[in-house]
Symmetry: C2
Subunit: 305 residues, 2 copies
């Protein structure tokens, strides 16, 4: 799967991923009213609104981008109808040829991680049949439980040719509280990074591993160090744009081959129509605003090289 | 919610929780066949089988126990029908007066943790309405992202009178890989434990906090230290039974008031009918085997005092 992601990045000259993290406040009034008219002000209505909103953005941007990253929490908050909108979004993006990174941050002890891995990346056996539950291409994984919580994901990745991104250094303000703590003089995130590099050796694509990692755009100095610790690990970089990360800071996340990182923007793309920068757009042209924001982001990221 | 959990524990004299982590291989043939007859060998069929299986166990044990802990991964692996079985299980257990601990191990950056908290413990706003998504009483939370990933859960707990259990020291073999790393001479899990105690002060019940923690039964020496660091924190203890933890080792997890810990068993209860110890039961009496196993577990745990 990492080979496929890299091919798409190179083909589209766009080391970017659009975060499909819809909130009802981003959805234009007309779309929202149409969904509520059909389903009422219900969980079903909310799920329909975010699905239609996503569809508009995907239709307007899929030819420009290699991948999307739906954040499952934004769907899970709407209960079962929300989960259904998540699945519809995943399926639709795959139909459009996009690589889908499920931002699910799962992770548990062995047998339980296996169930998550099977449900999101693999196939579950039911009698004589096998079914995909959510069927993303990659998922994000939390490493706090250690190797035996990660290994089941890797086994499923090997079998199904899928991939994971393991949280190493997250983009949020208090990520340092535990992740930056020094162990024998080195921060915990470096130790996790070393493990990610080791885990990745088991599951290599051509030049990069199917075991990637997450390092926030908001900590470029740490990104620089982590790039060296994990030379064959693709870095998924959240925190660009709305969270404060700037393109000029992101050069150290890439290798000399111009590969090795993919930068995410969520709010900056999907809620572009509500921002001052794209004030010429409105609710009826929200998807065009997202397209413009994607084009601007690609140009901005490519200015690094 | 912690008050309600303690009341139930005292009333039933049972500091135990039954882990509803169904796997198809635990489901008696007759139940499985009935589900497949109705829905085929499909995700819907699997979901129906685990739901009916759960219902049997809950009906046979609810009068003995204060709480259940469904592990969402075991449902999520069956996709949308599985999530529906999870919700049915949560709702049914609440109808039966049980406290429901959703073992979801979620955790993300602030705005995303808020969505998880709202979806699992709170209410999400849709237009002029508000809805519960999954509506557990407690959920388990992963602390790797730090305070700003935990705080949104605490805010929802305050508002909705719910609770969380934060992972501190997990029961799996490789939990030490990161959790035991020494920081200024103290293991990471102690630092997380200190934070849990601090977070908990914001959200107190009468004698214990609504912010609990998870410490595996498989590490009793660490449980002893953590009990002291977090005197007002309820400890959810996985790893008893099938994973190897024994009652005699669990005394240090409790306070002198006989409270402060609740011990989970999953496989040992729900798959009791398949074990040698309960060989007198079979597939037609699997729920009775679970009842017997619960009675034996309660007696075993109470032998500590």
């Amino acid at each position: 799967m990492i080979n496929q992601l890299i091919t798409q990045i190179q083909k589209k000259k766009a080391p970017v991923v659009v975060g499909l993290d819809p909130m009802l406040k981003y959805v234009p009034k007309k779309l929202l009213e149409a969904a509520f008219q059909e389903y009422g002000e219900t969980l079903e209505g909310a799920a329909e609104a975010i699905w239609q909103f996503n569809k508009g953005i995907v239709d307007a941007t899929y030819d420009l981008i290699p991948a999307v990253k739906p954040q499952i929490a934004m769907y899970e908050q709407f209960g079962l109808p929300g989960m259904s909108a998540f699945k519809k979004t995943v399926d639709y993006c795959k139909e459009k040829g996009l690589v889908v990174i499920g931002d699910v941050k799962r992770g548990d002890i062995g047998s339980t991680s296996e169930a998550y891995a099977v449900g999101h990346l693999g196939k579950v056996t039911v009698g004589s049949q096998a079914y995909s539950g959510f069927d993303e291409d990659f998922v994000t994984v939390n490493p706090y439980l250690g190797s035996d919580g990660i290994q089941p994901f890797i086994e499923v990745c090997k079998k199904e040719k899928k991939g994971i991104f393991v949280l190493v250094k997250t983009s949020n303000p208090s990520s340092g509280e535990f992740q930056d703590q020094k162990i024998d003089g080195k921060p915990l995130y470096e130790l996790v990074g070393q493990k990610v590099a080791e885990w990745g050796e088991q599951c290599m694509g051509d030049s990069y591993s199917n075991v990637g990692c997450v390092v926030g755009a908001t900590y470029p100095e740490m990104g620089k160090v982590l790039r060296k610790i994990m030379p064959k690990t693709y870095i998924l970089v959240p925190g660009y744009g709305a969270q404060g990360g700037a393109a000029k800071d992101l050069a150290p996340y890439f290798n000399e081959d111009g590969l090795g990182a993919i930068v995410n923007s969520s709010r900056g793309i999907i809620a572009a129509w509500q921002s001052e920068k794209y004030a010429s757009f409105d609710g009826t042209t929200y998807a065009d605003a997202s397209r413009q924001a994607v084009e601007d982001m690609i140009a901005d990221i490519n200015s690094i090289f």
